[in-house]
Symmetry: C2
Subunit: 398 residues, 2 copies
């Protein structure tokens, strides 16, 4: 069977994808308030309506995916199979049609209530670029721990915002005694992983249990104020340089949609310790695309990322730290080896030395007020198809 | 009037204190499930019962203080005044008596649902001690940014646990290729601040607005694995070395109980930037006491802490980061200048060089399995009284 909902050529949201989000119709009709939906073509199917009157329906009739995610992987698989059946067969077609909304007639919310937010530093090209920029005198650009563990830190969960939220240029200390709006506002193009099923305190989650806990993938723009970050980060890491806003895409693409995108991680040398051994391949062939004011400025290849999301998760919990539904962890800036694959402006402009020249003739080192940054991505789907991630976008306001 | 509930001599929980917590009777009676209470003497008054049938009562009949805290400072003042009146007058005495529980007959829960957890590094003596330990070759023990801003970072909110929770010794990478249980398990005696009223994204909270947002104070033990931390922390700060457990005391002492404890912060030189200027004194004369297996090993004086909690809050939000109800931020290790005032074992044993000798003849550099660490504190109350904080305690399990 094929899908009876029209899916335009090149749409991000095919029957193989079926990503989850939280939406609200802009104008009345079909129930009230935000609820969980699945995107298909140019529309979104109201899952709360499809399961109305059941406990599952109640968990879907809320402002975040969390209650649905807490139900765990068997329920995720059940709902995905049912949605697919609804869209492929005529069994409930009339009822479905009444609960489909055009995407341009709904508002999309933050898909999850973020519990803890952790950001990694998992791209070797990115870490090496920053090493070359900040420690040009050192022949080895990576720090000694980098190939032994996925370096990561906790970010601010409360300032994770949905795509479209304006990003106010943060003020802060740019250096000793120097206070003002950041002069080095940057982006970081990242891939984020959403934890659905929690884990118990004291019980590490192995790399092999990754798909039992992680539900799906979002795109992340981890906005960064490089001057604030540089002055504050010793010895406890980034704080205000990152905590003002982290934007995420509204659609969570389930891992189940990414089977055809799975690839081995790059060769890891030295061999990771046992707890980091990748039992199955959870590298992912996601192709990112970063646009500045509508012009593509970079195409970072996530598949080159050194540490897999399963390794990051195993690392996060190896000390016994528990996972909660809604935990979000991100890859860190995704950069490839080539200059047109760098995922941040500090790399693209090489710390401001070589400004980017844009199509309108203007130049950029870091972001100006009014600039809009949009990150998109796609991955191979089954049978030559394409899985799209929608986008995460934000405009800088002064 | 005086309190008709008996308050034993030396009790932490006087009529001037009235701290808030979440409790559950161990055996039936008086309603079901966890609810908010106020400690008085050896008992706890069930606030959910006292306001039963009202919207406020519903907000008090839950497993955390958050819904009450979200109501804001006017409501905090109203409830505090009402509770005091209940305990001082006979108006509702009979009803109160039916809703008092002996503290030894209730279980205490984590008082708040933690939104974001931020830990600072605000004690000069502590930061200087760590500088001397780790950078003995450098004449100035503080890093260049330390006196310009309160250095802080985000910790893991999901592993904040209530006093009494056993702390499992974490495993992790102790150095390159060296995996195993931490050999340097430490404590950090800290003071924590609970945010009640949220703030809007993009709008900094001034030092003068501190008491409009912060509800009260808890004791914090930020357990630390020094070997894990040392290997992982460059360049993004502590992660697994801290994220396995952070214990907090069950009673939140409201700022309103600490008027007599307010003191100026130490002289700050260089003068802080305008946004960090302390408009009113929010230094606090809290006297901490750290016990190891029942023996007092240190008495850290919080009043010497360089950065005030109002300054820490202004710093956290100066970049526009918003506050949420349930945000918790802590001072970092509280250490005084004298060796018997250090708030961590890495300082007390000077990085393991000079073991502590305990009363039973044993020695400690870092913690052994079975060790119990308890932190208590008190502050001056009005009219020569004493405000107690209860305790935060935890036992290490292997």
């Amino acid at each position: 069977m094929s899908c009876w909902v029209p899916v335009p050529e090149g749409s991000d949201f095919t029957l193989e994808n079926l990503p989850y989000g939280v939406f609200e119709p802009r104008r009345g009709g079909g129930g009230h308030g935000p609820r969980v939906g699945v995107a298909i073509g140019d529309q979104v199917l109201d899952l709360a309506a499809m399961w109305a009157g059941t406990p599952l329906g109640a968990d879907l009739a809320t402002g975040s995916l969390n209650r649905f995610l807490r139900r765990g992987p068997r329920e995720w698989a059940y709902v995905r199979a049912e949605v697919r059946r609804m869209l492929e067969t005529d069994e409930r077609r009339l009822f479905c049609e009444r609960n489909l909304y055009r995407l341009d007639e709904v508002a999309l919310r933050l898909p999850i209530e973020v519990a803890d937010y952790v950001d990694f530093y998992a791209s070797e090209a990115h870490a090496a670029n920053l090493g070359r920029i900040f420690r040009p005198e050192t022949p080895e650009p990576l720090l000694p721990n980098w190939k032994h563990l996925p370096v990561g830190y906790h970010g601010r969960a409360g300032t994770v915002v949905p795509s479209g939220t304006p990003v106010r240029r943060p003020a802060g200390q740019r250096a000793a005694g120097d206070f003002g709006p950041t002069l080095r506002l940057d982006i970081e193009a990242e891939v984020g992983f959403v934890v659905g099923a929690p884990s118990a305190l004291g019980e590490p989650v192995s790399t092999g249990a990754f798909a039992e806990h992680v539900f799906g993938v979002v795109l992340v723009n981890d906005w960064s104020a490089r001057d604030l970050q540089r002055w504050e980060y010793q010895p406890l890491g980034p704080f205000l340089g990152k905590s003002f806003a982290t934007s995420v895409s509204p659609w969570v693409v389930p891992l189940a949609a990414l089977e055809a995108a799975r690839v081995p991680v790059p060769v890891q040398e030295p061999e990771p310790l046992a707890y980091l051994a990748e039992k199955e391949s959870w590298g992912l062939d996601l192709r990112l695309e970063v646009s500045l004011n509508g012009e593509v400025v970079s195409r970072p290849p996530y598949r080159d990322t050194y540490w897999s999301p399963a390794q990051m998760l195993a690392h996060t919990t190896v000390n016994g730290a528990s996972l909660r539904t809604g935990d979000l962890y991100a890859s860190g800036t995704v950069s490839g080896r080539e200059p047109d694959q760098f995922g941040s402006l500090i790399e693209l402009s090489w710390n401001g030395e070589w400004p980017l020249r844009l199509a309108d003739g203007s130049e950029r080192t870091f972001l100006q007020d009014g600039d809009t940054v949009t990150i998109r991505a796609s991955a191979p789907g089954v049978g030559g198809g394409r899985i799209g991630f929608g986008e995460v976008s934000g405009t800088v306001v002064g």
